[in-house]
Symmetry: C2
C-alpha cells in the first residue's frame, strides 16, 4: 500500500498526516486551556477521516455549511452538527427533519422567514424545538443584522416562532482576513466576542456565543463570554494563513503536487495545475500561492489547467519533469476539486483519503 | 420525468437545451461556410451528451485538456481527440498508449523533452508515429515559443524525435479576453492565424493551423490558412462573452439557479450559491456575474457558499425564497463543480445530464 511519494501522479492533493495531527492537537489545546468548546468547520477538508481525528482530539462537534456535507458526516458517525447556513424550501426542510433523527443538529439563520420554515419541519414542536443560532454581522457584511438592538429585536421575533428555540448568537469574522498584523487580528477577535456578549445581554436568557475563523480563533478563545469556536482552515492552513502570521510553511499540511511540464522562456515555467486544482481565490495578490521550499519561485497566473510561474532568467530554474508542491491561497475550496487526497507521512504515501463531502452543493 | 423548473432544488447548474442546440448550430454554420474544421474544446461542458451534439452538428472531433477527460469522451464514442496539453511521466504515457488503441489521439507540446517522452510510448514508431501539434505563443505567454524562427527551430528539433510526427501548429489566444472591442478581437484573431501560417512556411511541409478561443473563432475562421478552430465556451457562453460582445443574455445557456436565503440589509440580498458553485474567476470586475433578467441587481462578492448581491435600498428588492438565475463570469470551471446538470427546455426540467468528465484532474 505504501508507495513512494515519487510515484503519485500529478496534479494531486497531498495531505501531510503528521502535520494535520499536530495542527489538530495545537488548536484543541488552545481551546481546552481556555475552557472553550471547539466545533471545527469541516468545509476545509470535507473528509470524514479528518473529522473523526478532530472529534477524537476533543472537538465538541462539527460545523457544516451544507446539508449534503452534514449527511455525509452523520454517515461517518458525527452526531453533533451545527449547520451554519439558512435553510430554505421543502426539499431541504424534509432532509433536515430526517437528519435530526440521527444526530443533534442546530442551524443558523438571520430572518424570521427562515425560522418559520424550520419551525414547521417534522419533529420540531414545542416539546422538541429545532435549536437555532441567530447570525450577527460583526463586520463581514454577509449575513446578519448589526450587533445590539437590531439583533436583539430579531432574536425576540425568532423566539416567538413555534417549534424554534434560540440557542445562541453566531458570527463569522471573515473580515479578519483583511488584517495586516496580529494586533489587528486580536482586535477583530475581541470585538466579535464583545459584540455578541453585549447583544446577548440585551436578549436575556442563556445564549451560546459562537464565533469562528482560523485567524481569530486563538485570540477569541481568551475573551470572556465566548462558549464555542468554529475554525476550519487551521487543520490544513494555506498561503493566506501564512501571510496573516497564524501559520508557517511547516504547518501548511495540504499542498497540490505538480509537475513542471514546460519551460517556454528563461524566466517562465509551467506546471500541470491551474485553477481547476487550486481555484482562482486570491488570484494576483502577492504570494497568493507559494512554492513550498522554493522561495525563489513564484506564481504569475493560472488558467484552468496551467499554472504559470516565474523564475529568475539568470538561474537554471526548475526543469521539465521536476515536481513542485504548491501551497494554495485558500485551502477550503481546493479540497472541493479532488475526489481523493493522498495522505503522506515521512515522504511516503500512507493511504488515500476520500473527500466524501466534496461537491455537496445542496 | 419532466418536473417543473420550480421544483429543482438550489443551487443547481441548469442548461437550456434549446439555447445549447442553437449555439452549436451557429458555430458549426460559421465554420462550414468558411471551410474550416471545428474541434470544440469539451472543457466547457464536460458532458458526453453535449459532445455528441457537437459531433452530430459536424464537428471534426473534440479537444480535451486532460487524459481523464479524453478517456471519458472516448468511452462515449468520441474517436478523434486532440489532447491540448503536454503529457509527462510514465503513468500518463501508458494511458495515452492505451487510448490510442481506441481513438485517433493527437497531442500538443512545446518542448523536445515532452516529444521524447511521447515518442517512446507503446505503439509510437516510425510506422505509427504519435502526431503532435507544436504550441506557439501568440501573446498569452503561457506555453510555446514566439512565432517565427524560435518555433521553426523547435519544430525542426521535434521532427528529429523518433516516433513523433509534427501534424501542425497550435495556439490559444487567451489574451483576446482582454479586448475592449470587436475590432480588437478581430485583430487578435487575424494576428494569431497570420503568425502561425508565416511560421508554418518557415517550417516547410504541410502543417495544420489550429487556433482557438470563443471570442476570436468567428473572426479567425475567415482568415486564409487556418484549418481548424477549437472554441469551447460558445456552447454555453457566460458573462465574459457578453462583456466581449460575442454573446447575449439570450445565448447564455448555462446558469446557476439560486434561492435568496437572506435580506440582511435594505441594499443587500444573499443567495445560496458562492464560489463553490460559481468559482472566483473574474471576482470583483464590473458585471462579472449577471443576474439574468434583473439588470437592477448585481453581485458584490462571493464566499464559498454565499453570493452577496446589491439592490437599490429604495426598492423592495428580491424576497427571501425568490429564485434567481446567475450567469457565471466563466462557464468552464463552473461545470467542474457539479456532478450533474439540469437540462431545461421551455421552462421545464427535461432531463439530467451527467458531467462525466468533471474532476478529471489527471
Amino acid at each position: 500500500m505504501s508507495v513512494p511519494y515519487e510515484e503519485i501522479d500529478t496534479p494531486a492533493l497531498i495531505v501531510d498526516l503528521d502535520t494535520v495531527a499536530a495542527n489538530i492537537a495545537e488548536m484543541a489545546g488552545v481551546m481546552a486551556r481556555n475552557g472553550v468548546r471547539l466545533r471545527p468547520h469541516i468545509k476545509t477538508h470535507k473528509m470524514p477521516e479528518i473529522a473523526r481525528l478532530q472529534l477524537e482530539a476533543g472537538a465538541a462537534g462539527i460545523t457544516c455549511a451544507k446539508l449534503g456535507e452534514a449527511e455525509v458526516m452523520a454517515d461517518a458517525g458525527c452526531d453533533d452538527i451545527l449547520l451554519a447556513f439558512p435553510l430554505w424550501g421543502r426539499p431541504k426542510l424534509e432532509r433536515i427533519a430526517a437528519l435530526r433523527e440521527r444526530a443533534r443538529v442546530r442551524v443558523s439563520l438571520d430572518s424570521v422567514e427562515v425560522a418559520e420554515g424550520l419551525g414547521g419541519v417534522g419533529g420540531a414542536s414545542p416539546d422538541d424545538p429545532i435549536e437555532v443560532f441567530v447570525e450577527v454581522d460583526t463586520g463581514l457584511h454577509r449575513l446578519g443584522r448589526p450587533p445590539g438592538v437590531p439583533t436583539a429585536e430579531l432574536v425576540a421575533a425568532v423566539r416567538k416562532v413555534p417549534g424554534v428555540s434560540v440557542a445562541g448568537l453566531l458570527t463569522h469574522a471573515g473580515h479578519s482576513y483583511r488584517s495586516t498584523s496580529l494586533d489587528e487580528l486580536r482586535a477583530v477577535a475581541e470585538r466579535e466576542v464583545t459584540d455578541l456578549t453585549e447583544t446577548a445581554e440585551l436578549c436575556g436568557g442563556e445564549l451560546e456565543i459562537s464565533v469562528g475563523s482560523t485567524p481569530t480563533s486563538r485570540f477569541g478563545a481568551a475573551v470572556p463570554g465566548v462558549t464555542e469556536i468554529r475554525p476550519g482552515t487551521y487543520v490544513f492552513n494555506d498561503a493566506t494563513m501564512i501571510r496573516l502570521g497564524v501559520a508557517t510553511e511547516a504547518t501548511a499540511a495540504a499542498r497540490v503536487l505538480t509537475t513542471v511540464i514546460a519551460r517556454p522562456a528563461p524566466d517562465r515555467f509551467v506546471v500541470d495545475a491551474g485553477s481547476k486544482s487550486l481555484t482562482s481565490d486570491g488570484a494576483g495578490t502577492p504570494g497568493w500561492i507559494m512554492v513550498a521550499g522554493r522561495p525563489e519561485l513564484s506564481m504569475r497566473f493560472l488558467s484552468e489547467e496551467h499554472g504559470i510561474g516565474r523564475c529568475a532568467a539568470e538561474t537554471a530554474g526548475p526543469e521539465i519533469g521536476e515536481r513542485l508542491e504548491l501551497i494554495p491561497s485558500h485551502a477550503c475550496p481546493v479540497s472541493n476539486l479532488f475526489d481523493t487526497a493522498y495522505g503522506v507521512r515521512g515522504g511516503r504515501l500512507d493511504h488515500e483519503l476520500a473527500v466524501a463531502a466534496r461537491g455537496k452543493v445542496r
